[in-house]
């Protein structure tokens, strides 16, 4: 015990005597550990946030998207890569009508599409996301106009050039006037502003109020697409979601093939997104972990130099009674002190970075990632310290004492 404590003290003295060298050696570990911690917490933060937001959309929502996604909640191995079948658009207004007329379990059916567009008014213009939605959007999304109205069923049916602004867009284009009733230009077409939606806040770094809404029918003509991109369907409250899902599938199967579309519910979307984010996090952390290995090699290198430099000291220690074992332990402790100190600094930096990322996403530093980073740095200290330490332990004391 006495020896161990003294050895630890000695290691600290040695490292302090070579401050710059020790710091540079730690750098690899510091960078590796901090980026692993940062990436893990960003990954889990994104996951929490996105799934939270999606669940916020409600458990009664269904999404009909083109292509066969073969989503299997819980992540079965046989499910193809989501998005691999990305997919020729096949939905038409006829499908919309059929769903609307025949769906007994469905409350609201909306066509849904996203575009980029530039809106201009009175010399001001702004590029943002244009959403083609159904007239039921305020009810489904639980976001109502604070000024004017949303468009109604007949305006949607007639594909009228009407537009509802998000709060940010309204503030930017109409800083001093009421936008309702004004004519604005979107993709060379004049649109009449019907209303402004109440604020919804940001989805991560994306300002959800920085978009405009037009009927999906209007979006088809304005952006020159013949098909409907997707459907956003709200099932009736008392209907089990799987029943509604099955009904949608049956209706669409009359005119479409099985592989032409997929019906997703919130739960399966959440599961797929967490899966993708999980894999991404692991892959990125793995890449970051490579710098841990590089850092370990750096430690090994500097420890080998240190053993050579201190050959005489090792010889003397052996002469006055140090066993090969205690010399081995001495150098192992030194490399572990470097790697663990690097690990601790890396954890502090990574955690600080992760907490700073809270401005954008709700990152959290999980205790297991800290524990993992800490144990990895201990292991690196041991693994990459063994070779130099063994070399020191094996030194012949007679030759070591004569070493110049």
């Amino acid at each position: 015990m006495e020896k161990l404590f003294e050895t630890l003290k000695l290691a600290l003295i040695t490292l302090r005597a070579n401050k710059l060298r020790s710091l540079l050696t730690m750098l690899g570990i510091i960078i590796g550990v901090s980026s692993v911690i940062l990436l893990i917490s960003i990954g889990s933060g994104l996951k929490t946030y996105i799934t939270g937001q999606l669940q916020d959309l409600g458990s009664n929502s269904l999404y009909v998207v083109p292509g066969n996604l073969e989503l299997q909640p819980g992540g079965g191995g046989s499910g193809g890569t989501p998005g691999a079948g990305a997919a020729i658009l096949k939905f038409t207004l006829a499908h919309y009508r059929e769903l609307t007329q025949k769906g007994t379990t469905l409350k609201a059916i909306m066509g849904y599409s996203e575009h980029n567009g530039t809106v201009s008014y009175g010399g001001r213009s702004k590029t943002m996301q244009v959403a083609g939605v159904g007239y039921q959007y305020p009810e489904v999304r639980n976001q109502y106009p604070e000024l004017g109205t949303f468009f109604n069923a007949s305006q949607q049916e007639a594909a009228k050039k009407v537009i509802v602004l998000g709060k940010t867009v309204a503030d930017d284009l109409f800083p001093n006037e009421n936008p309702v009733g004004k004519k604005i230009t979107l993709s060379d077409n004049k649109f009449t502003v019907l209303g402004v939606l109440e604020e919804k806040g940001a989805f991560g770094a994306v300002d959800m109020d920085n978009q405009v809404f037009i009927p999906f029918t209007t979006a088809m003509s304005t952006f020159d697409v013949e098909k409907i991109m997707s459907f956003w369907i709200e099932a009736k409250e008392n209907v089990p979601i799987n029943e509604a899902k099955e009904e949608v599938r049956q209706i669409l199967l009359r005119t479409l093939k099985k592989d032409d579309f997929s019906v997703l519910d919130t739960a399966s979307v959440v599961s797929v997104i967490s899966q993708i984010l999980g894999v991404l996090t692991i892959a990125l952390s793995g890449i970051a972990a490579i710098s841990l290995i590089v850092g370990g090699i750096g430690i090994m290198n500097i420890m080998l130099v240190s053993v050579t430099e201190r050959t005489r000291e090792i010889g003397l220690r052996k002469a006055v009674g140090a066993t090969p074992k205690i010399i081995m332990i001495q150098f192992l402790i030194e490399s572990m002190v470097i790697s663990v100190a690097g690990g601790i600094i890396g954890i502090i930096l990574g955690a600080t970075g992760a907490l700073a990322m809270r401005v954008f996403i709700p990152t959290g530093v999980s205790w297991w990632s800290v524990l993992l980073a800490f144990s990895v740095s201990v292991i690196i200290g041991v693994v990459f310290g063994v070779l130099p330490a063994a070399r020191a332990a094996r030194l012949n004391p007679i030759q070591a004492l004569r070493y110049e």
Binding site: E2, I13, L316, R317, K318, V320, G321, P324, I398, L401
Partner: protein
Amino acid sequence: MRKVSKMPILKLQNVGKTYQIDSQKLSVLKGINLQVYKGDFLAIMGPSGSGKSTLMNIIGCLDTPTSGKVIFENRDVSQLSEGELAQIRNRKVGFVFQTFNLIPRTTALANVELPLIYKDIPDKERRVLAKKTLEQFGLKERICHFPNQLSGGEQQRVAIARALVTQPLILLADEPTGNLDSKTGREIIKIFEDLNKAGNTVILVTHDADIAAHAQKIIKIHDGEII
């Protein structure tokens, strides 16, 4: 029954050391017999290449013989493992080297404490013991100095304190005056004489006849044999 004091503390029986260099065998020591009694003051003399360093290494348990026996207080140490030899060195032998071999960036006190650490002596006791030994050699004011702040003579006195702090059976000095001027060298030899008078067993390895003359008994080595 023989008296205990007549028992040799160290006995070399027919000790030989042979090195294998490529296909050639090189005999550095040939059938050395030697007995060291408590309170002896020996000088081992010989020109370089005579095998005196190898003999010293074997006496100091830094090396093992290829033939023969080395008996330390009735225990044959010629076949021990490296770890076991380290313990013998720690408890029974005190080394003083020509080049002092103090550990740099470590105070005089810490240098003297070093063998006690490997002997598992607790913190406080160790410090007291090391301080006392340093004071014994007139280094009271130098306790917290680093080796590069000490003169050659002072460094060698720290090294002697380090060798003696464990109260070893044998004090083994390898050309202890070789790196010192003649005046300081005489002071160091005086210390060894005094230590011997106080009952310590001293073995001095040197090629200098004037220094060897201070010993009670001179052992001359030539071509690996005692002459």
